[in-house]
């Protein structure tokens, strides 16, 4: 009997083992499939990430603005109170649309639109460049889109941001201490209208009753906050609100600038020399041209030209 049982057990074990082997085989197959799929997915992701970087390149604005000279021009007397609570700044920002000029291409900007259109209409132009005679083809420039908008910034004369507030007191007590310290005129403060305090971030927004108190305080980088017997220096910085207006995507259209092609096999490699010859040729009315503003060509390597309003 026990031999039978032994046999049964043996068979069972073998069955189980066979099942396990089957399962392992299946799992292994799945694992290899999924691994392959994952590798493919990773490649696709990489491709899209690169593509995303490329396409957002020209629709994003990322500009460090150099110092612009500003001068007093006039004085106004607006009716509303709100215009006196902020120093307001506004400006216009507009994309310079890039155009990649390939080797052997040139851009020429005419003073008059009709001249540019005429040069395009004539299409083929025989131009003398040093000792060579080249045939240039004139075409319109196909431009990408850009964006333009206004930036409005209001720097408050009545509110200031405060940070680095020590976390020593419960919320409502700290609020009181802030109000007391910031109303001390001997320290540059003034009557406080409202205190917003965030214990977690250790920061606050203080609104004063009078316009101008904020400026005074902001002349210093920090301000004395009195807590019981101690004086802490808290950091102060301006409260600003920034927003965009009149945001618009536009499609660039070149009316006065023409694309010239046909310079690839030129012997001359000096771009300036070639530009001079092209300019001289297209200044002449008998060549279908007119007053020329700018000529730029790419001979040795491609360049990027920027189109602006």
């Amino acid at each position: 009997m026990s031999a039978d049982e032994d046999n049964k057990e043996q068979v069972l074990k073998e069955c189980e083992q066979a099942e396990e082997i089957m399962k392992d085989k299946q799992n292994q197959k799945l694992i290899s499939e999924i691994t392959k799929e994952n590798i493919q997915l990773k490649e696709e992701i990489k491709k899209l990430e690169a593509e995303l970087q490329e396409t957002t390149r020209t629709s994003q604005i990322n500009e460090d603005i150099p110092e612009t000279k500003i001068k007093f021009t006039s004085v106004e007397n607006p009716e509303s109170d709100s215009e006196f609570s902020d120093i307001s700044y506004s400006c216009q920002v507009s994309s310079k649309v890039p155009y990649e000029l390939q080797k052997g291409q040139a851009l020429i900007t005419f003073e008059k639109e009709e001249v540019a259109q005429n040069v395009i209409r004539m299409e083929y132009h025989h131009v003398q460049v040093q000792n060579e005679n080249v045939m240039l083809t004139a075409n319109p420039v196909s431009l990408n889109s850009g964006v333009k908008f206004q930036v409005h910034v209001g720097v408050s004369k009545m509110k200031i941001n405060v940070t680095d507030i020590p976390d020593e007191l419960p919320e409502s007590q700290m609020r009181d201490k802030l109000e007391l310290s910031f109303s001390k005129s001997r320290n540059g403060g003034g009557e406080v209208e409202y205190v917003e305090y965030n214990k977690q971030t250790r920061s606050a927004l203080i609104t004063f009753v009078e316009s101008g108190v904020a400026d005074k305080i902001l002349k210093m980088k920090d301000y004395p906050l009195y807590i019981n017997q101690n004086c802490h220096r808290v950091t102060v910085y301006p409260y600003t609100e920034t927003h965009l207006k009149k945001f618009q995507v536009f499609s660039g259209v070149s009316k006065r600038t023409v694309l010239l092609t046909g310079l690839k096999h030129l012997q001359t490699t000096d771009e300036e020399v070639v530009e001079d010859f092209i300019s001289i040729h297209f200044q002449r009315e008998k060549n279908g041209g007119g007053e020329v503003e700018v000529v730029k060509c790419s001979l040795g390597q491609p360049h990027t030209a920027y189109f602006e309003e």
Binding site: Q28, T58, I65, F72, Y89, C91, K96, P98, H243
Partner: protein, 300 residues
């Protein structure tokens, strides 16, 4: 079952024994795949939302010129900043004095307090340099806005004021019978009008319909509605910049009236003996009043 016939990357997962470890490995891989798929979808969505170099829907044209800005290398995002305008509130009892020569302003500022002689008495005032906030860095990204549309195709010579035009459009596109809905915002742009709706589907529906006959004054005009891309500020930094030619005069006592005060200040600050010089402009805000001094950029 040789581990060699599976991808080498799998060696770390594959153990020679134990189907338990194998199913764990399988699970880990399936989880990774789910994560990768989510990331892929996110990127595909971003790519769809992000504007391409040439946007796939109509946008107004803007004439551009090549003025010679030429650089080596690949195209980068570049922009022009112009029409800088700053409004600076002047408190009562203050004045803004602008000199021709910034060096004169510097000299005047060497003394914090000035005593101005007027007909036998002295006016004590304070002088301070002027600093104005200037935008030094701006980063803006564009994205499709599902609640907004651009209305374009306005006929030339339309005799409507901005307000009238915006009102008529808001009335027309505010009606559900026209395919519209509640208008939340409106803005006149160079190439058209932007309308923002409280519900997404209204904007989408209008874009699908595409063209509308809208009464604008005496006639009906055929206008086009297309998707709108809005901008979002990613970063904006403002730094104080000195105004070298101007000086703020503060705490002017209330003894003279406006025009007289203006003359007195001008005379005082022109005197070379006081460190003064040629004065370009004097703006006075008498006590009890307020004024807004406007500064603009020299070019643009």
């Amino acid at each position: 079952m040789d581990s060699a016939d599976v991808c080498p990357a799998l060696k770390v997962h594959l153990l020679p024994t134990g189907s338990q470890t194998m199913s764990q490995a399988l699970q880990a891989l399936q989880e990774e795949q789910a994560r990768l798929k989510m990331r892929l979808q996110e990127l595909q969505r971003n790519l769809r939302d992000c504007p391409q170099d040439k946007v796939p829907f109509p946008v107004p044209e803007s004439p551009l010129v090549f003025r010679g800005h030429f650089e080596e290398g690949k195209a980068m995002a570049k922009s022009v900043v112009s029409h800088v305008r700053i409004c600076y509130p002047l408190p009562g009892g203050s004045a803004l004095v602008t000199f021709d020569d910034p060096n004169v302003a510097k000299q005047v500022l060497q003394q914090k307090e000035h005593q101005i002689n007027v007909e036998g008495f002295r006016l004590r005032v304070q002088v301070q340099p002027l600093e104005l906030p200037m935008l030094t860095t701006i980063q803006v990204s564009s994205q499709m806005n599902d609640q907004r549309v651009l209305v374009s195709g306005f006929p030339a010579g339309l005799k409507l004021s901005e307000e009238e035009l915006l009102d008529k459009l808001e009335i027309f596109f505010g009606k559900t019978k026209n395919g519209g809905g509640d208008v939340e915002m409106r803005e006149l742009l160079q190439g058209g009008v932007m309308l923002g709706f409280t519900e997404d589907r209204v904007a989408q529906h209008l874009c699908q319909m595409g063209q509308f006959m809208v009464p604008l004054g005496k006639q009906q005009s055929c206008l086009r509605v297309s998707p709108y891309m809005s901008g979002k500020i990613q970063k904006a930094e403002v730094r104080p910049q000195p105004v070298p030619q101007s000086v703020l005069v503060l705490n002017i006592p209330d003894v003279l009236d406006g025009p007289e005060l203006q003359d007195v200040l001008e005379i005082h600050f022109q005197k070379p003996t006081r460190g003064g010089g040629e004065v370009e402009a004097v703006t006075v805000v008498p006590p009890g009043q307020r004024g807004l001094a406007v500064f603009t950029s020299k070019s643009g």
